[in-house]
Amino acid sequence: MYYREAGDFKTSYRADQQNFPIRFDRIHFWVMMVLAFGVVPFFINDYWANAVFVPFLIFAIATLGLNLLTGYCGQVSLGSAGFMAVGAYACYKLMTSFPDLNFFVVVLLSGGITAMVGTAFGLPSLRIKGFYLAVATLAAQFFLVWLFNKVPWFYNNSASGQISVPRREMLGIPITGPETAASTKYLICLIIVFVLGFVARNLTRGRIGRSWMAIRDMDFAAEIIGVDPLRAKLSAFAISSFYIGIAGALFFSVYLGAVEVGEAFGINNSFLILFMVIIGGLGSIYGSFAGAAFLILMPVLLKNVLVSGLGWPSDLAAHLEFMIMGALIIIFLIVEPHGLARLWAVTKQKLRLWPFPY
């Protein structure tokens, strides 16, 4: 009902194919960006940064990454947390080996290294399809976690087996390490999310994105229009791992600061990211953000209500959280298998057609 589209016509393909072709959406988006960049940093505190914003942003990157692979290219992966671990350890090794390297370059390189590892693990996708592939990606999950646990080189032989992030500064402001301000953490993640979101959108609306979707929707038809399944799938694995690697690097260096691989990058996180993709919506950039936000916010909310509000023991709350999470996923899949993104799309369509039903 808020949509007013009469007179919003397009005279060029650039205008027709822009990210938000409807004027109202465009305004809406930029208002959000102004809020995110210009307002939130001034009000954010440690609690909000650590409980909500930073994990949301980091998981949004990972979800974007997995969505590119699963939602756009149709290759299910259950090894996301393993790839996050690659990003985290690459970040750690780079930071400790090259202390003068710019942090953003480190993050980028971590993504690159993860992309290579991801591509290697993506190789079987050429032969294996569907569930077989999904299960096969678990090999990456278990093998990588085991590797980082067992090879001391990765954690620089530290006694605890943990890795902790060294302190780094940029323009005199601490950006990693315990002294980092909440707003700094938030802004680092926000900038990277913004850039990666933009890139994801660009990749999915162009030739490469279409080749992924073609493979996803009907692989033999994709082949006859010249899409090489090898290149399409491997590029999806590479890009997806790049995103997830960056998420892992940030998860370690900005969010947690110190990491023990089995805990931080266990299979539950793989599932969590997959849930974010599914609840957000397969094959949707917007959905990746919505899914991440939903699954980050929900436990925080539940904890606040049950533990702080009703005073229940936290283990009970955790069990209830499991139940609610599981139930929500099932309900979501029944009500809208295509996630929040579809829900939003339907709502938007309804508003555009308002007051008509169709």
């Binding site: 678990l138 599914i278 899949l333």
Partner: protein, 333 residues
């Protein structure tokens, strides 16, 4: 024979026993996948839930006591009675049937015709729910499960195998857990029973018909939904058996849910639709991972059991994408 070789054989035998356990879980998977095309991630949690319920019933625990205590400030714990193992198993089986009905009524019914990945996700959701539900109902502490199965190494085997090694060698006979032996026996009985059921009962034939072709089965009047309840119930029994075995061995606890992760490579190896595949795959993986850990593990830091099965299955699949016994995938254009 040299003791090293004998130790290897012992490892192999133990692997074989462990493989039987994997097979048990994989079996539940295959049953459901064949009948409803659902890749049931919750199979492991079903085993946990079954074991939790069994322990709870045997110990006369008050369901949801923690929750009730938290909400009403009471101090409930148990009813103060004990239920005999067999009766408790029967009761648990009833619970599992009830569970199967609920799954069909509340979930599957609404998801007919959805893509497989969606159904798969739903079972992950189900797994989360059941895990939380089971813990909430019975508490999350580690519980011992004793349904009267013999435990500990079998002395008889130990004593009767000492002679295999030459005099003076440091070999004390094969160490094989009695529990593993009973598990193997139970597994064999279960497989035979399932085979007989599917071959010689009307329900079993209907199950097979559905597995072959949903449409055709429906067109001859087989109720798909009834079939689903039955398969989920059977899968529930299988989960109960697996839960009893694993629970007796290492206690009933959260990690029981992760036996599903052991079953997955078994499935990859054996194929999602093959019962013999599940058994053979389980045995191969059980033996393989124990042998690998025995021979290669010490060289690379150990704890290879976490991933060996997957890597093995992965390598295997690259050469034979449909698994050991899976049907060849023919792509029609």
């Amino acid at each position: 024979m040299s003791p090293d070789f004998l130790y290897a054989i012992e490892v192999l035998l133990n692997g074989l026993m462990a493989g039987v356990m994997y097979s048990l879980v994989a079996l539940g998977f295959v049953l459901i996948f064949k009948a409803s095309g659902v890749f049931n991630y919750a199979q492991g949690v079903m085993a946990l839930f079954a074991a939790l319920t069994l322990v709870g019933i045997m110990n006369g625990q008050v369901p949801f006591s923690h929750l009730i205590n938290a909400v009403f400030g009471t101090h409930l714990h148990d009813f103060g009675w004990q239920v005999p193992a067999l009766a408790a198993i029967a009761l648990t089986a009833v619970v599992m049937v009830f569970f199967a009905i609920l799954v069909e009524k509340l979930i599957l019914k609404y998801l007919i015709g959805q893509e497989p990945i969606i159904l798969f996700m739903a079972t992950i959701g189900l797994a989360y729910f059941m895990e939380g539900f089971g813990d909430l109902m019975w508490g999350a502490d580690i519980k011992a499960l004793d349904v009267g199965l013999p435990k500990g190494g079998s002395l008889w085997i130990e004593e009767n195998t000492v002679w295999l090694a030459a005099e003076g060698e440091r070999f004390f006979g094969f160490f094989i857990d009695k529990l593993d032996i009973s598990a193997t026996i139970v597994a064999i009985i279960l497989v035979v029973a399932l085979t007989l059921f599917s071959q010689y009962t009307a329900t079993g034939r209907a199950l097979r018909a559905v597995a072959d072709d949903h449409q055709a089965a429906m067109s001859v009047g087989i109720s798909l939904r009834a079939i689903w309840v039955i398969t989920w119930s059977i899968a529930g029994f299988v989960a109960l058996v697996a839960g009893i075995m694993w629970g007796s061995k290492s206690g009933v606890q959260f990690s029981l849910a992760f036996i599903v992760l052991k079953a997955l490579p078994v499935l990859m190896l054996g194929g999602f639709t093959s019962i013999p595949g599940a058994i053979v795959g389980g045995l191969i993986i059980g033996m393989g991972e124990k042998l690998f850990e025995f021979f290669i593990g010490p060289l690379i830091g150990g704890a290879t059991e976490n991933w060996f099965a997957y890597v093995l299955a992965l390598i295997f699949l690259v050469f034979r994408p449909q698994g050991l016994f899976g049907e060849r995938i023919i792509e029609r254009v």
